[in-house]
Each structure stands twice: as C-alpha cells, then as structure tokens.
Assembly symmetry: C2
Homo-oligomer: 339 residues x 2
C-alpha cells in the first residue's frame, strides 16, 4: 500500500468535499480523479486513513469526510501558496488605491478580503505600540480642559480629553506642545513614555500639575492596551451555505462580536511572510471549534504593525484563502508605507 497514494486519496477527499459539501465515497473518488486503481483499493486506503484519524464517516453507510487532523495534513502538504492572477492583483490594487484616509483603507481592505474569500474577514488597525509618532496636538477646549490628539505614522489618530485643576494659558499650552513634539516626533510609541517623563520638571511649579496630567494622558494613550481595534466584514457569508455551520452560526457570530476574542486570535500569529492556518479545535476559542482561521500579519518594510484574518468553516478552500490573505496583507503593508 503506497504512502503517496494514501496522501493523494486524502487530498482528493478534501478537494471533493470542499467542492460538493457531501461525504465522498470510494466510487465517486475513482471516477472524478484518475487514481488508476479500483474503488476497492481506495476503500482499503480509506480504512487506513480512518484508522489514523484523518477522515471519518458521519454514519456507516455514508462516504468519508475529512477530520480536523485530515485538513491539517492537507494544509501542511500545500507546499507553496498559490499566487493570484494578474487581473486579480490589479483588481485589489484598484480597489484599495482610491482610499483617502486610514479608516477608509482598513474598511476597504476588510470588505475586499470578505469578497475575495466569500468568508468573514477581520482586519486589525495598525497597532499603536508598534508604530511611531508623527505629531502630537493639544487642543484647548476650556481653560481647564485639553484634548490630546496623537497622530501615528500609520495614519491612525487617537484622542483623549484631559481635565486640569488649575487653568492653563494658551502660551503655556503652546510651549508644552512644542516641547512634546520636539521630544517624541518620530519616536516609536513604546519609547514615548521615557522620552517625556522628564518634561514636567522644565516647567514652573504653578504650571507643573497640568503638564503632569497632560504627560500622563499621553502615556496612557500610547501604552494603549485598550486601543487595539478590529473591523469585521462579511458576516452574511456565514449563512450563505447553511450546512457550513449547521446549528452553530450563533456562537461564531458571538465570538466575532467579542473584539477581545478576535484580538486574541489575531495576536497569536507570529509575524511571517506566510499566512498561518488554525483548524477547528486548534483554535483556543471554544466557540470557534467548528471554524478555521487563516491569519497573517501586515506592515511596511517587513515590520508587522497589525494582523488580519479570514474566518470560515473548516471545510474551506484553504489554498485560495491563503492566497487572498497574503495578497491583501501585502497591499495593506504597502499602503502603510505610502502614507
């Protein structure tokens, strides 16, 4: 019994099952793929594959479907991610290039990814701690209230309102603004806290408490556990094929609404050129144990600033989805650079 053929049989089963959504039997297999052996031989191979846990039978008289372990082996066999065709690439480029600002770039990316894969797409905003400072603006709202606006190199903008006990004059505010920018412009967010820690000491005791409050607020903003943000699109695709998630659309939708859960999912990827796949129960999130996730990081200049993902049924077209995820991640990274 050849090991190679067994792998070929597994691959054929996965391909057929992904295409037809029905358990595939030995007869259909030899008909559709030219395996050059009889159905009885394939049956023997299938029995072996089942013993090893790669495929399973819904019931005795049915064909086989791949298990999570089977998909895993299948995916690991995919030696290289297929490249998109030129027209596909051009479509992506055209679609993303019309965007004006970061919100629009992210929004278009997530929609595009959902459309390409016909699955649910998730895109994380460029992570604040992983980018650098372009500009800090202080806008006076009241004599005792200032809005701190941080503009990141990725185009992301964060704001926060600070109240003081003692009023601050426009002159002092201008000076603080100038000093802060001098200290932090171009710095990586993670280094900002150190850079401005000494600032309050430069100011007269009377002004110092307000400056301390400003600096503290700025530190909070850039530390930003809270500031990670994700966008999803294509939830309707979950219901496109009802059998995808037989009775389980709800837990999946619920998981997708929990941004904390999503961030955890996205966060588990190490930065890499290749998309990462997690299949079924490989996901730590219990609600997504019937789903598979294809993730990748993106960022300019080989520097990951965020992650993105596609979520779908374990029975998905892994090759195509990996290609789409990689393509969108690349274009997104390029947009970040361009900004």
């Amino acid at each position: 019994m050849s090991e190679d053929r067994r792998l070929a049989v597994l691959r054929a089963i996965v391909e057929d099952y992904v295409a037809t959504h029905e358990p595939v039997g030995s007869r259909a297999l030899v008909d559709r793929h030219h395996l050059n052996v009889s159905s009885a031989t394939v049956r023997n191979d299938m029995a072996a594959l089942e013993d090893e846990g790669f495929i399973a039978q819904p019931h005795t008289s049915a064909g086989r479907i791949p298990t999570d372990k089977g998909y895993r082996l299948f995916v690991d066999q995919l030696t290289e991610v297929r490249a998109l065709s030129t027209p596909e690439r051009r479509a992506i480029q055209n679609f993303l290039e019309g965007a004006f600002d970061l919100d629009e770039v992210v929004d278009r990316s997530v929609r595009l990814l959902a459309q390409l894969t016909r699955q649910v797409a998730v895109v994380q905003y460029p992570s604040l701690p992983r980018s650098s400072v372009r500009h800090v603006e202080l806008v006076s709202l009241l004599p005792t209230r200032v809005m701190v606006v941080v503009i990141a190199s990725t185009g992301r903008i964060e704001q926060r309102v600070v109240d003081f006990e003692t009023p601050m004059s426009e002159d002092v505010l201008a000076k603080v603004r100038q000093r802060i920018n001098a200290c932090v412009q171009g710095l990586r967010m993670v280094d900002v806290a150190d850079a401005i820690a000494g600032l309050p000491a430069e100011f007269a005791p009377l002004e110092r408490s307000a400056v301390v409050a400003l600096v503290a607020s700025l530190m909070e903003t850039v530390a930003g556990q809270r500031e990670e943000r994700v966008v999803i699109s294509g939830a309707a695709n979950l219901t496109r094929v009802p059998s995808d998630f037989p009775l389980t659309v709800q837990p999946v939708l619920e998981a997708l609404e929990e941004h904390v859960v999503l961030l955890k999912l996205l966060g588990e990827v190490e930065a890499s050129e290749q998309p990462t796949v997690r299949i079924g129960a490989e996901n730590d999130v219990q609600q997504l144990s019937t789903a598979s996730i294809v993730t990748s990081s993106y960022g300019g200049e080989g520097q990951a600033v965020g992650n993105l993902a596609v979520v779908g049924p374990t029975r998905m077209d892994y090759a195509a989805n990996m290609a789409s995820v990689r393509a969108v991640a690349r274009y997104l990274g390029r947009m970040m650079d361009a900004q």
Copy 2:
C-alpha cells in the same frame, strides 16, 4: 360586537405571539387573558380582524398571527413609551460614563443597545454637517504633503492627506493654520466653505496654489457625504431564535453590512422626542421587509446630530425596544453635550 374588545383581542394576540412565537388560537387566548367572553366570541372577533387584514392564518387549522398592519395598529395604540426602571437607567449611565473618547462612547452605546433589546443595534456617528468646528490642524508630512485634521464639536475627528506641487514652508503652513482656525472655529460645518473661500487671496501668488489645495481638501472633508459612519452590534441576536427569520438571516445580514442602506434607513427619521417605528414592508429596503426598525435621533440641546436604531423581527417587543432606544438616545445626547 364591541370595537374595544376587538382591539383588546388584537393586543392579546400580539402579546401572546411575541411571547410564545406560535400562532395563537381562540382557546388559548381566553385562557391566558381574562377577556370575560367565550372562545366562540373571540373567534367571531378574530374573523372580523382577519377580514380587515390585521391578523392572518398560516393555514386553515392553525391559530392567528398578526400581520404588519396588525402590528402597526398595535404600535399606534401604545399611547406612551414606557419609562425604564431606575436600576435600568442607572445601569445605562454607569455603562456609558466610563468612556474616554467618541469612538468609545459610540461603541459602548451600540453594544448597550444590543444588549438591552437583544436585537441588532445600529448607531450613527455624529453627523459632520450637523456639528461645528472645534479646531483644524495641519500636520506637515513632507514639504509637499500635509495632513488636514478636523476636530468637530462632537469629538469626531476627520483626517485627509493633501499633496501640493510646490513645497510649503513651515512658516506659511503656520500662517494658514492660524488663519483657517480664526475663520472657522465654532462655525457650523455647513458654513465653513463660505468662510474659507476667500482665504487663498490673502496669500502671495507663489503660495497660493498650495493654499487652494488645502482649502479645497477642507471643504471636501466638511461637505462629507462620504463621511457618515455607522456602527452595528448584536448581529448574533438575529440567530438567537431561529424562527425569527426563517430562511432570511442572510438578506438581513447583507443589508446591515451595506452602510449605505443603513444610513438611508436611519436618515428617514425626522428628529423627534419619540422613537419612530417602521414595520416589515414599511421599510423601503426590500431585504428588510421581514424586519421592523425602531429609530430615534440623538443630540445635545434638542439639536439632532445623529440617529440610532434597533433592527429585529416584526415580531419584537415594541414597547420595550422603544423604551430602550429612547433611553440610549437621551444618554448619548447628554454625552455629546458634556464633551
């Protein structure tokens, strides 16, 4: 045959059907509500109600369910929106008050609304054209590239990148910044275009083209058809009761992903203290013809700056949802004032 009793019967049918999700028969009706008449009498009333189109039978041997027209009459009979209980109100307040910035306020509101109503909630960001300018910031990215950042009175921030043909010095940029803010600060967005139209003329011919580009970009930003933004939450609630949308979760989900559609839905409300209800086919959006929508506007000082809504099956608890929508709209309006 008393008209009052017929209305009471309709109300009882709606209430029972909303509660049980099953066609309600004459027998069950007299059992559960003390109507003080026999089931035969109720049957006569039901026949009349059916003639008038307020209720319908799924099939001959089944009970009655309300039609869209029936729900409409029921809703119109609700003379006043129930007030929320004090603990409910306190919960809302606590939930919303911890928010730091606008994004967080909107995010929390939409989640809260989804949780209160157990339906899909939609919240529109404060509309740019309906708010005023707090501050305009120009951040130099390159000598020929500036990021225009507009901060609105509602806390909303919009950005946009402008490229010039001729480089602009920091000095000129500072002057433009100062002049723009002098012209537009505190102005309503709709009046901004007029206020800055004359600005380029103040500058030397050499600088003028860049200033024109800046002014044009600013005008585009505040005109902002494109800039309306909505957030949704609670999509998982669509699948909570499978019978809510028998085979139709998909079109509803699709409609909810089309922000253009949502904005249209939200936009059709006239500003009013009372929530507006649109039932089933009353929605212009065909995909939502099996859904009902409860909308309201919100805004500080009686000035509407945005809208919000709850989307659910026609068979929803209208009284409760109207109360929740109104409550969240009020708190949201208050938050806008506070900013």
